[in-house]
């Protein structure tokens, strides 16, 4: 508790790493699409897109201006009838796979997908050995 004033002072001194504009957020940044199905699709997509300026957060989680603009972009494209995959592809075309939290199966990433399967098979194999021994 004694550290509370110190923390308060530190918080006062803290300045945001990235300067933000004082324009209001874009219309679709924090407003849902009227059609619930489309909003659900947009929301699911936003949770798997990386915020470009915060890097460790999805655009659904981030308060950065740019994340708001990216949400607006996603919602307006989905509302206009594009599919989530098309919007993701549009962003990947510009920023690379890095912008997406959903790794595709590619020569580089297939071990990632294969590893769990291989481990389960290995586990079954080991378990089989143990059960056999016990029965004996």
């Amino acid at each position: 508790m004694r550290s509370a004033p110190i923390v308060a002072v530190l918080l006062l001194r803290a300045t945001p790493l990235v300067a933000q504009s004082d324009l209001p957020p874009a219309p679709y940044a924090d407003t849902q699409i009227a059609d619930p199905a489309k909003e659900a699709e947009a929301k699911a997509l936003m949770e798997t897109l990386r915020c470009l300026v915060c890097q460790g957060q999805s655009i659904a989680d981030s308060d950065a201006d740019m994340a708001g603009d990216m949400r607006a972009l996603v919602r307006s494209r989905i509302a206009a009838g594009e599919s989530a995959d098309e919007v993701r592809a549009w962003l990947v075309e510009r920023y690379g796979e890095w912008v997406s939290y959903e790794p595709p199966v590619s020569p580089l990433t297939w071990p990632l997908w294969a590893a769990p399967l291989a481990l389960v098979i290995l586990g079954l194999f080991l378990a089989r050995g143990r059960f056999k021994r016990r029965r004996r």
Partner: protein
Amino acid sequence: MRRLILWLPLAIFVGFILVVAFGLQRPPQATLQSRLIGKPVPDFALPAAVTGREGLASADLKGRGPRLVNIFASWCVPCIAEAPYLMQMKARGIPIDAIAVRDKPEDIARFLGQHGDPFQRIGADRDSRVQLALGSAGVPETFIVDDQGIIRYHHIGGIGPAQVEELVHAYEAAK
């Protein structure tokens, strides 16, 4: 042999911890190069960012020789630092257009009044839509677009003396 196998899970675990520990210490990816280099500028048309000036459209970047497109904002501190170097490039005869991100006309006018105005056309990108279309992830950034409207170069971050030479070199190469 059996004893070695007993130790294997621990060895794998320690290996995993080491990979994670080193991975966490590595700084995050600092810059994000646009993948559109070598590709045409996406279609866009931005209204004027300052009253009495022309806005910027993708059509303006075609057939007028290579040019710089500076992405900036009046609320962006590094943009103040790079302003004199943009003025230097203007003095060297390099045409520079600009895109002002999430900004107000009066703020942009004040910024240009205080820090110099090296720009020909300035488009207002109020919701970062064109910035995202270009594959840019922040301010300031600078693109070089050639006469055919193809993106040839992408510089991320502010411009200092060293970057002036890099950009002039890339500009000459885009001719």
